[in-house]
Structure formats: C-alpha cells, structure tokens
Symmetry: C2
Subunit: 587 residues, 2 copies
C-alpha cells in the first residue's frame, strides 16, 4: 500500500503531453529519450525501497532539536546517503560542477517520485536545488568553486532564508543585517523563520542562502542583498573549518511534514559572502524562487499521486456492502461513487503533472535556445510557473482530502498514510509564495508580458489540441473537443477582462485573481488531457481507455463548468468590494 | 481571536431564512420568538467563557486512557458540569423527562455555538442527544424512567455503538451478540470501534446504545436489535449499582478532535436491555442517526464559522505589504484576494446554516403537526437531512482549509486555531454515514419519495424566492434572481435525469450521486441567501449590505456555475463506468 512510481503515466506525460523531445539538441548533449524510462524506474526503485518505508515512521517520530543541533528521524541520514551516492542531486546540474546536465524536466519528474514516497525527505533536495541554481546563475567564481561541487554531489545541502516574523509575503520588510567585515566577507545578524531543513545531521555542511540588508541600503525590496552563509566555514583547500555563528534555535510544531525540520535560524554575526550584486538580492532570489515554485507544484503532483494510490489500494482491499455480481461483501471499488472519486483524483493528478512537465520543458528550452523559440519558451515558462505552483498544490490538498474520504473512518487515523498525506499536502499552497501571491503574479505580471502574447500563445495551443481531437472523428473525442473549445472561449473572455481591469481598476482585477488562475489551470489541464486522449489512440495496453476516460471525465466536469465560471471572475468581486464596510468594517 | 457566537447572523437565519416562527403553536407551548436571542446570547457567553478557552489546550493534551478508564483533558469535566447545570442538554427534550420542550431547531443552533467553540466537547452532548431521542421514541417505559431523567439533565451521557471493524457503512455486517439472560436482560458481547466519548470521567454514568444480534437472528440488517447498556448498572431505586462488563480498551490517534475520546469498546457479557422490538434495531438506530446527521451538519457550520472568525481576526491583525490609503504595512484584510476568500467562507457558512436550520424547522413541524402540513414538513426534513449533513460538512472542511490559507505560514502551525480547525473539521464528512452514503440516500431514497414531491416542493420554494427577489425591482436582486432561476432549472433537469436513471441504470445514477448532492446544496443554499437579501432590505445596521453582498457573491459564483454542472451529473459517469477495466482493472 505504499507509493510506487507511476512510470507508465509519467513517461506518457513527458512524451505525449509535455513533448519532452522538444528539448533534444545542443542544450542537452547527454540526453536522449531512451534515458527517460530507465531513470524513472531507477528513481522509483529508490523511492519504494528506501524512502517510502521511512515516510510514516518519520511522521510519527519527527525531526528533533537537541543540544547538538537538529536530528532527522531514524533512517533519514542513511537514506540521504543513498540518495547522494546515487547521483540524484546532480541530474540537471551543469557537468562543470559534477552534474549530469540532463533536462530539468526529467529531474523534476524524479523529484515528483521522491515527494510521492516521502515529502518530508524530498524537501531537503528541493531546497538544495534552489541553492545550486542561485549559485550557478549569480555566484562569484570563488563561491561557485567552493560550494557547487559539494552541493551538486549531495554531500552538502542548501537552504533558502527569506522569511522573518514581520516579512512573509512582503519579503521587502526583512531586517536581517549584513555588515562588511573589510575582507570581502560580511557579518550576518538576524532571525529567520520557517527555514526548511535549516539544520540536520544528514550532511556535514549546510549552505544557507540568506537575504539581508547592507548598511544604508534603500528601504523595501530594493535594498535586499543575497549572501551565502555556510553552517561550517570552508577552508581554502576545501576542508571544513570552524563552525559559523548560525544555529537553529527552535523547531515549529506543524500540521504535517513532521520529518522535515522547519527551523527558526539565528544568525549572530555569521560570516557570509555576497551572491550577485549589492541590493540585487531579490532578483537572485527569484531565480531560486521560480525554480522552487515549479518544484513545489511537482510536489503537489507527487502527494496527489500518493493519495490516489493509497485510496485505490484501500478501495480494492476494503469490503463493505453487496454488489451485483460479487459474492459476499464487495471491495468498495465496486461502488460507483468510489470510482468517481478515484477518477476525479487521477484526472486531476494527470492534468497537474502535464502542466508541471510542460512548464519544465519550457524552462529547459528557454535556458538553452536563442531567438524566437527561446523567447516563446521563456514566456511559456513564466506563464505556467504560477499555475503549476498554485493549481497543482491546491489539487494536492483536495485530492488528499478525497483520499481520506475513501478510507472512511480509517482515513482520520494518523496511522493511515491517507491521513498523513492530508496533513503533509496542506503546506504546499502556502510556501514559496502563497497561492494568492501566485495568482497576483499571474494576472499582475504574466498576462501583461509581451502584450499578452504568453496567454494568447497558450490559447492557440489549446485550440490546436481541440482541432486535433475533432479531426479524429471519434465521437468521444469530438465531444471532448467541443467542451475544450467552450472552455477556451471562457478563458479568453476572462483573460480579456482581466487585462483591461488590471489597468483600469487593479483592486477589482486582484479580487478575481485566484478564480482566474483556477480557471486557467482547468482549461490548460483539460487541454493536456485531451492531447493525451488523442495521442493514446495509438498506444497499446490500457493507456487508450484510461486517457479517453480521464479526458472525457475532466471535459464533462471541469471543462463543462468553465463557461459558468467567467461571471465569478468578471462580477465576483463587485459585491464584496462595494460592501466591504458592511462585511468587514473597512471604509 | 477565539470564537464568539454570531448571534446576529444566527438570529437572522432562524427568523428570515428558516422561518422559525412556523413552529409556533401547540407543539411548543413553552416557546416564543422572544426566547431566541436571549438563549443564543446565553449559549454564546457559556461558549466564549468556558468552552473556547479549553479548545486548544484540549487539542494539545488529548483524552487519555488510564488504568481507571478514560480521562478528558484538564478542565473538560468542570466545563461539562457547567453545561449540565445550565440545562443545555434538555433544551429540546420533552418536559416529561425534565427537558424544556423547545424546538429542536433552537437546540441545534445552540449546538452550533458549542461546536464552534469546542468541537471535541460538543461531540459529547451530540451523542447524548441521539441516545435521548432513541429512548424517547423507542424505549420501554422502565428504561425511559431509569435513564431519561439523568440523560436529559446531563448528569449522565450517552453513546451510539454501531461500527465494528468489518461493519462500517455496511452496518448489517455487525457481529456483536446479545444472548437472553432469562430475566428480561441480555448479555452483550463483542467489540465496537470509533465510539465517540465511549468512556470518560465527566459524568458518573454513560448510557451506551448498542446494536447487536440475537441468537438465530436473520442475517444482515434485518437481524439487528438495539440495546441499552449502562456503564454502571442502575438499581431499582435509581442509585448506581455494580460496574457493567463494558470497558474502553483503546483510544484512536486521530488527525483532529483530540480532546474527544474515540474508543474501542469491549462488551464482555455486559448486561443490556432491548430498546424497541427484536430485529428492529436498525429502524430505532435511524431515529438517532437522522437526528445526529443534522447535528453533524450543524457542527460543520460551527467549525466553518469558527474558521471564518479566526481568519477574519488574523486578516485584521496581520500586516503585510503596502496598500493605497494605508500608512505603513497594511492589514492583509485590505488585499482584495483575502477579502474574496473571507467572503467565500462567510457566504458558504451562512448558506449551510440556513439549510440546517430549515431542516430543523421541518423536523420540528413534522413532529408536532398532523395532516398535509406535517407530511410536507416530513418530506422536507427527509430531503434536507442528507444535504444538511454532507453539504455542510464538506463546506466545513473547505472553509477550514481557506482559513489556514489566510494565515499563511502560521496556518500550518499546530498552535494556531486555524490549524486545529482544519484537522478537526475533517472527521465530519466521514462519520454518521459518510457523505457518499448521504448522497446515495438522497438520490436512492429521498428523490423517489411521494413521487418526487420532496424536491418538487423544494424547487417551488426556490422559484418563489427568485420571484420575490425579482419583484423588488432592485437591479442587484433581479440579477441574483436570474442566476437563481437558471440554477433551479439546472437542478430540475439534473433531478429528472437522476430519478429516471436510478430506475433504469442504478449504477449510473449512483456514479453521480455526490455531484448531484453538491448541486442541490448549492441551489438550495443560494435560495436561502437570496431570501436573506430580500428580507434584509428592511433590516437596520449592516445586515442589508452584508446579505446583499453574500447573496450576490454566491449568485455570481456557485449559482452561475450550476448550469455547467449538469453534464457532470448526466454524463460524468459514462467515462469511468465504461472504462473501469482500463482505469481500475475491474471487468
């Protein structure tokens, strides 16, 4: 009943939904499509054999703060060693720093597997990835030489330090200070909260990336700089030196991800070095954030898949009630209501997976291609990132809740995996920019880019998919195509309204940002499922029936609802904006 | 930041949405409308002063199983004494047994307050209510005399014992045995699980109502009888005698409601007495269940309200980001996205509240009126019960999740009330018949009653509300009326399809039962909010603006989506029923 990597679905999604073959070429000389399945299978084996068995014990035991720092639950340090030695950390890192130079999309698919098996564990490499990316993009050569090989090998891990008690979504409000020491280094002082894997005993060093203010820096987000602050100082020869003045002074008690230490970090004149330019820390941070946002979306997919698998297994095993054609009590899978819930879960997981992979493919192309193709891919990456993050993580919570429901009373018991997933999944819509922030990013920045080209291109793809479905002349696919076209029309109308309204009355636009993002995710997700149903017509085994059913179900539910959701966007804000005094006491 | 009873909203909902004055008359001689507000206020005072302060400590400490039975968290026993001495247990119980003979609707509103302040605590009286109801309706006079006065006074508490490991939703699979002792009593033996407040130290006796099988009883649900089994045997003079052979042998570790002991109960030849007739236990149990289902719906309302209040308070207090017109960081309430979430929460809570109160009013009238009025009310009660239970508890979970989101990172911390509510709320869709069972009850039994009269009458009310809104000639209300009519059309179409399909292809109907219930709840909830907006035109204070905004928002979101949800009902099942082999390996 524990997680197994859904290699067939993932491989299909990478190939047929996200068109991974588009990344082939100069950018990834080490990659060819034949690598996909073996890598997913190997990751699946590691996840099933090593990570999944630690998931529930890790939840029960939790990370612990001792006089000697934070201790991960039993078995995690050994599992991390297997992870690092397997080379999993460096899949998509540059070969220059010891990585394998593979597409990020593939690395993200592996991360999905790791999160599906053990989300708490997966957060450690997720944060390391962000640190690697920031140093690769913005690090000074000396810092790159010093930290990247060990981060990429997984010998050391990384963290992101943004949040302070008064500075959450408004990161510009942070107060941590960085004072030049006169030797090129800085003394970093302040308190950071919610630092994931901020301390632990799984690696001999932890490389913190920390946002702080230089003396006399401008106020707000324009006065923030990024620093690299190792837990243990690194000597010139690469050996470990003195312990730096940074420590974990508290662990949060949380709804879920108990095995992942969420640390309060105290920087007390810790020695750090500037990453990128002075006062340009936010731009550097966004490199990490964008990547991390997609990774968190992928985490939503992994947790959703795990919830689906647990619910499906339970539905096969648990017997209640009589069903025609079954002797004695029937597995609850035979009850149509249970199958509907499972179908809802699976369709949504597959849609989110496709959105995340497509975002990854766009990111890979944007990074390695020039000219129009590169620019278009960058627009696509920018457009899909907030959707991948928010839509997939909301989906993860909803699907995890459905998983609890299928388990009945057992689902509410903490010993049940479904219960843990319900608790674990809930963080993902919150961190790396709340889903509200993602929605604001989508309507406030992404829709306006290049005169609206990002969403226009996306809608073009959606319509092309509908056309391809229609041209099959398969009545089921034609019906799906009709739903998809109507949904695309709805999204187009909502988009036009949103672009205009954000110019004319920003608050009114923002009042519908979340509803808009949800609609966009539904339509884009439906587009990918439709594409899958078309592609699966030539697939063997059960893939054709499965994709037709998932796309058909999604078309008759989420896509069919799309036109009715436009008014919630264009008119939904009217009532509470005009009655904010009666509702909330706001003048 | 703790719960305060929303007396103004509740009073308005009782009067204007649920038409509580319709219960006035012979059935409730002790009741008049002037009692409503003082009782709600007094309950609110008890909840705020006594129950709410125990909610988070109770969650942290949890109930504990000792060698001496189960111990409630610190303070709960004293709070329970205040509750009993306040006469809260007997509000709606017959005066004959020491109750106050008030309408159940009012008692349910009080229960909503108690659950809002402390759901774990509220479960104890919720179960006692079921026991009282079963004994009042089905108990033999000797048992009534023996148990009812002490249950009604709250000196003793009650439980319901249905579930066994192999018998959950399929209660007919239960195995607990009842063997006649020859003296009119029975020896009850077996194990029951998930018994809420099955043991505790808050009252000197606990009256268990237990489903069991007599020797040679027919198989399945037709061979089940109901027994009353006191924890401590009661002597003829009413004094307490020997300890009965029933004990709690284990407590479940759960996602939430930690202060409420969920017991594994071992009956080892415990002495019990038959309630009602032999092999008619299921019918007696349904008396308790129906009442409990509405009460659980009301619990969803209470938890949803608590989540709303906590989120609203946090949004006023937490400052992040700059907003035009506010100096320095602005309370996040100023962000439009936050206000939309709060509006969604509040509109849904109010809609669920109205559905539950209307169900209560119908139950009160059904119980006290003869003839057509009584019959129509009974149909309404039967129709609304599964909707009140399922729609309100799903709402409770969703709204609690929104509450977490508004809290950002703090929402994921167990010390935050929002986090507790997210965990507590999750049980309500599961127990007292899962929400899937409610949906099956709705489409399988309730729609077919009296040739479909129950839903036809309901739709008539919905259309009358739309007409009343239209006749105001207020453009906002006319727009709401249009949405409501379109939504009613959608529900009518879905209802027609469902009734036909349940006859022709039951599995296909059941495949859409949950989607149908959700649609019905949305339309009926929207009808009540619309009624509220019409009624509030003559209200003072902020009620008019508030109700117009809530109804308007709900109309442009949930009601506007209703027509697009019909295909999810009429066609949603096609795909996965026909592809169950490809999806689930089912032939």
């Amino acid at each position: 009943m524990t997680y197994r990597a859904p290699v067939e679905d993932m491989d299909f999604a990478l190939r047929e939904l996200a068109s991974l073959e588009r990344v082939l070429g100069e950018g990834f000389p080490a990659f060819d499509m034949d690598l996909v399945q073996p890598i997913l299978e190997e990751a699946g084996k590691f996840a099933a054999d090593v990570l999944a068995p630690l998931n529930q014990p890790g939840d029960e035991q939790g990370a612990q703060l001792t006089g000697n720092g934070v201790i991960a639950p039993v078995g995690f340090a050994d599992a991390y060693k297997v992870f690092a030695e397997g080379g999993w950390m460096g899949l998509a890192a540059p070969e220059k720093w010891g990585g394998q130079g593979l597409p990020k999309t593939l690395a993200n698919a592996v991360l999905e597997i790791i999160h599906g098996a053990n989300m708490s564990f997966g957060l450690c490499p997720l944060l390391s990835l962000g640190a690697i990316e920031a140093l690769v993009e913005h690090g000074h050569p000396a810092e790159q030489e010093k930290y990247l090989p060990k981060l990429v090998s997984g010998e050391w891990t990384g963290t992101m330090n943004l949040t302070e008690p008064q500075a959450g979504s408004d990161v510009g409000a942070l107060k941590t200070k960085a004072v030049p020491n006169g030797d090129g280094s800085y003394a970093i002082s302040g308190q950071k909260i919610y630092i994931t894997w901020g301390d632990h005993d799984m690696a001999e060093n932890i490389i913190h990336l920390v946002l702080a203010r230089l003396p006399d820096a401008p106020a707000g987000s324009k006065g923030i700089s990024l620093f690299v602050v190792p837990k243990v100082l690194v000597n010139e020869d690469g050996s470990l030196g003195e312990r730096n003045n940074v420590q974990c002074i508290g662990l949060e008690k949380k709804i879920g991800i108990h095995a992942s230490p969420t640390c309060v970090m105290e920087y007390d004149g810790a020695t750090g070095w500037l990453v990128g330019e002075e006062n340009r820390g936010l731009a550097c941070m966004f490199t990490m954030m964008n990547s991390a946002r997609l990774n968190v979306g992928q985490e939503g997919v992994g947790v959703g898949e795990a919830a689906y698998q647990a619910a499906y297994a339970y539905a096969q095993e648990r017997k209640q009630g009589q069903v025609k054609g079954v002797d004695g009590p029937a597995p609850i899978l035979h009850h149509a209501d249970v199958r509907r819930t499972l179908t809802t879960m699976r369709a949504n997981v597959m849609a989110a997976r496709a959105i995340c992979y497509a975002c990854g493919v766009a990111a890979d192309i944007a990074k390695t291609s020039d000219g129009d193709a590169g620019e278009a891919a960058k627009l696509r990456e920018d457009l899909l990132t907030p959707i991948a993050k928010a839509w997939s993580t909301d989906m993860g919570v909803e699907v995890a809740s459905m998983g609890v429901q299928i388990h009945g009373g057992m689902g509410f018991m903490n010993e049940t995996l479904a219960a843990q997933l319900y608790r674990d999944a809930r963080i993902a819509p919150i961190y790396e920019g709340t889903n509200g922030i993602q929605a604001i990013d989508l309507v406030g920045r992404k829709l306006g880019m290049a005169n609206g080209k990002a969403m226009a291109d996306m809608l073009g793809d959606v319509r092309a998919t509908a056309q391809a479905a229609r041209e099959t002349n398969d009545p089921q696919l034609v019906q799906i195509a009709d739903r998809l076209v109507a949904a695309a029309d709805a999204l187009e109308e909502a988009t036009g309204w949103m672009v205009e309204t954000m110019k004319a009355d920003r608050d009114k636009g923002l009042a519908s940002a979340t509803a808009y993002l949800k609609l966009a995710g539904d339509v884009i997700g439906g587009h990918f499922l439709t594409r899958g149903a078309v592609a699966a017509r030539t697939e063997g085994g059960t893939m054709r029936g499965r994709m037709t059913a998932l796309a058909g179900f999604f078309a008759e539910t989420a896509l069919a609802e799309a036109p009715g959701r436009v008014s919630g966007i264009t008119r939904g804000g009217d009532s509470f904006l005009s009655e904010s005094e009666a509702l909330f006491g706001l003048a």
